[in-house]
């Protein structure tokens, strides 16, 4: 069912690890030279930059081709005709993606990914157009069909091509499903959480068979997304701004007195420890990261949940808490025998981590220019101190 064979994927993984280990000094250059031919694959791969650019230009070509077809061959088509042709485009895009892999042996090459993504987009827009043509159009029915098709198609792309980002896309499509079944906002939140929880149970049971193989990371990432989805669904202070709220005809208004509201408050405190425990027990980096993110989000949204007033020094306390946790954890781990406790260490083990940090720190320094660049109107001597909106870095006074 998967488009790439297990041996191809494992070979590519071995090649990547071989390079990483040689870079870290765990293997000598001579060992690398002797082992490298054994990890040769018939799949065509490229680097991240060319992959992104190829993805971009493929999307441009496919979208323009679809637009050109409609302009040249169909003058003022009906909704139904447009829908049918868009579905045909979806089928063609998907078929070309399959051919690109089967004949061109493309692997994470940008082209086949863009074609697969375009097929999902054409499918959803086509179904939307097709169903809008029926009189009288029911928004809920269209929503149900489009979101169900989008969910299924994204899951298929995720499974078939092993593209990680198709999984969160499927989760986003799933957000719109309960709107067709119930008008109650609380029920919609519960249904979405149940859908994600069902997905989580499936993923958790499947991934236990893939310990240490090439699918471990993919399932780990999917599980992390599902945990995050469940948390965000229950955190009403965040989901107020989510797609669910924007799409819903009746905007969710959090009623502090309702039992549902307080149940979600309890849940947002229970979920982070649960996720962190799961991440620690499985030594799962993505799940651990989601556990940490949800814990921070709980701390940040707790006051609005309880209706308490926020203070300007709250971020400082949060900063002190985060730093304190990081330092204590680092010190505790470092004091263990060999700097290891319960299988965890604070030491760098991989050059990949160092590289990620060095690139990350350079990018973070550039994307936060507001923190150091005062606004031009500050040249006015009459400018009064105060009224900083963001507080980011403190320069926005």
């Amino acid at each position: 069912m998967r488009i790439y064979t297990e041996s191809s994927e494992e070979t590519l993984r071995a090649r990547k690890l071989l390079k990483e280990w040689t870079g870290d000094g765990a293997l000598t250059q001579e060992q690398y030279q002797s082992l490298e031919p054994g990890t040769a694959s018939n799949l065509r791969t490229t680097n991240i930059f060319l992959r992104l650019v190829l993805f971009f230009f493929t999307v441009v070509a496919v979208a323009a081709a679809a637009g050109l077809f409609f302009t040249v061959f169909l003058s003022r088509p009906s909704q139904q005709t447009s829908g049918i042709f868009l579905l045909l485009f979806a089928a063609v895009s998907y078929a070309v993606a399959e051919i690109a892999v089967a004949k061109g042996r493309l692997y994470r090459y940008g082209i086949e990914e863009a074609l697969a993504v375009c097929s999902v987009a054409f499918l959803c827009v086509g179904l939307g157009a097709l169903f809008t043509a029926d009189a009288p159009p029911s928004l809920r029915e269209i929503q149900l069909v489009v979101s169900a098709a989008g969910t299924m198609a994204s899951l298929w792309i995720w499974y078939r091509f092993n593209l990680w980002y198709a999984f969160p896309a499927a989760m986003i499509f799933a957000i719109f499903l309960p709107g067709c079944w119930t008008a109650s906002d609380s029920a919609q939140h519960v249904v979405i959480a149940v859908l994600y929880a069902a997905g989580l149970i499936c993923i958790a049971s499947i991934r236990s068979c893939h310990r240490f193989d090439y699918l471990e990371d993919a399932y780990s990432l999917s599980e992390a997304f599902l945990w995050l989805g469940i948390y965000l669904t229950f955190n009403l202070k965040i989901s107020e701004f989510s797609l669910l709220s924007l799409w819903s005809p009746t905007r969710f208004t959090s009623e502090p007195a309702s039992p549902f509201y307080w149940t979600t408050w309890v849940l947002i405190w229970c979920l982070p420890p649960l996720i962190l425990t799961r991440g620690i027990r499985r030594k799962d980096r993505f799940v651990l990261a989601v556990g940490a993110i949800t814990a921070v989000l709980t701390l940040v949204t707790n006051k609005p949940y309880l209706g308490w007033q926020r203070h300007t020094w709250d971020p400082m306390l949060l900063g002190v808490a985060l730093t304190g946790v990081a330092l204590s954890l680092r010190r505790w781990l470092a004091r263990g025998p060999g700097g290891v406790r319960h299988g965890f260490t604070a030491a760098h083990l991989s050059g990949k981590d160092k590289h990620a940090m060095s690139v990350g720190s350079a990018v973070l320094g550039l994307v936060t220019p507001q923190s150091i660049t005062p606004p031009p109107q500050a040249t006015n001597p009459e400018h009064r101190f105060g009224g900083g909106g963001s507080g980011g870095g403190g320069a926005d006074f």
């Binding site: 494992e10 993984r13 765990a26 293997l27 082992l35 680097n47 991240i48 930059f49 060319l50 650019v53 190829l54 230009f57 493929t58 441009v60 070509a61 050109l68 082209i111 240490f212 193989d213 030594k283 300007t312 020094w313 971020p315 400082m316 306390l317 900063g319 002190v320 985060l322 730093t323 304190g324 990081a326 954890l329 299988g343 965890f344 260490t345 604070a346 030491a347 083990l349 990620a356 940090m357 720190s361 350079a362 990018v363 320094g365 550039l366 936060t368 220019p369 923190s371 150091i372 660049t373 031009p376 040249t379 001597p381 009064r384 101190f385 009224g387 507080g391 870095g393 403190g394 320069a395």
Partner: protein, 314 residues
């Protein structure tokens, strides 16, 4: 065959020793599991949240707290941070060095960000330089360059480059007219300064690993400036020629040095600029779509050829 089985095979073939096999197999199984990345991210988020809260608190409560207390607190944090960095840092080396302690980089971030808060406070409250923000930015940029080179820190180097960009921007904000054109010229000057500085320092082997940061910043600012010139219809194609030269240089550099980010810059910025020039007077929607179909396919074909010849995974 998963990686653990493959390691076993390599050991049996004599390609790796038993110790190497045991070490690499344990790494593959996450034994021990390194939390280094997560802990560093927590520290970074902690410092950022702290400084954000500090800035917010000061901006809200400065009247009640009083200038003296605010400046005292900020100065104490600043002095403590820089004292820590200067007292713990090893002797300076022109080569790449590692931080002496795990929290060293974050203390340096804290000091750098608090410096910005304190300067902003000083000027906004006391008008020490009578609104001459450009001088503050220049001083900040120079300080950050010094700190980045002294402590081998890319984050502070990025802050320095951002401050310098701010200085170039603020300096010309005093110009009353033709701001777009003037901004463009200063952006080009900024690219020239940054690119030349990076190249000279690399040639002198002073923290040569910083070169990529310089070049990426310079390339992006250069392309934005040149593209904005191309979009300005008052110009007579000079900017377009400049764009083509920049794309050619970026492509050549990217392919020669296997820095594919520069190939991507050349492809995307070049495509946007050329498409604008060719289509700016086009009204026929069919023609426009035909153009996009054929040119996008041509770009894909060209990039595939580049990928086949040069673009192996990094």
């Amino acid at each position: 065959m998963n990686i653990v089985a493959r390691l076993e095979l390599w050991k049996e073939q004599g390609a790796i020793s038993a110790q190497q096999e045991a070490h690499l197999a344990s790494l593959s199984r996450g034994e021990p599991f390194s939390l280094s990345l997560e802990l560093n991210f927590l520290l970074y988020a902690g410092v950022l949240a702290f400084v954000a809260g500090l800035g917010w608190t000061i901006s809200t409560w400065s009247q009640q707290i009083g200038d003296v207390l605010v400046l005292t607190i900020l100065t104490i944090i600043l002095a403590a941070s820089f004292w820590y960095c200067f007292s713990r840092a090893p002797a300076w080396s022109a080569a790449e060095t590692t931080a002496p302690t795990p929290i060293f980089d974050y203390i340096l971030y804290l000091g750098s960000l608090v410096w910005c808060v304190e300067l902003a406070y000083l000027e906004n409250r006391l008008h020490v330089l009578s609104g001459q923000w450009d001088l503050y930015l220049l001083a900040t940029a120079l300080l950050f360059f010094f700190l980045a080179y002294r402590f081998d820190n890319r984050f502070v180097l990025s802050l320095a480059l951002s401050s310098l960009a701010g200085w170039f921007g603020l300096t010309i904000s005093h110009w009353p007219s033709h701001q777009d054109a003037t901004y463009r010229q200063y952006a080009l000057l900024y690219c020239l300064v940054v690119g030349a500085t990076g190249a000279v320092l690399q040639r002198l082997e002073l923290k040569s690993h910083f070169l990529n940061t310089y070049l990426n910043v310079a390339a992006n600012v250069l392309f934005w400036a040149v593209l904005s010139g191309v979009f300005d219809s008052q110009d007579d194609g000079l900017w377009f020629v400049g764009l083509l030269i920049a794309c050619g240089a970026s492509l050549a550099w990217g392919l020669k040095r296997r820095q594919f980010a520069f190939v991507a810059y050349a492809a995307v910025y070049g495509y946007v600029g050329v498409s604008y020039m060719l289509l700016r007077n086009a009204n026929d929607f069919t023609l426009i779509l035909t153009y996009f179909v054929f040119t996008a396919i041509a770009m894909v074909v060209m990039l595939v050829q580049i990928a086949r010849r040069f673009g192996r995974p990094e």
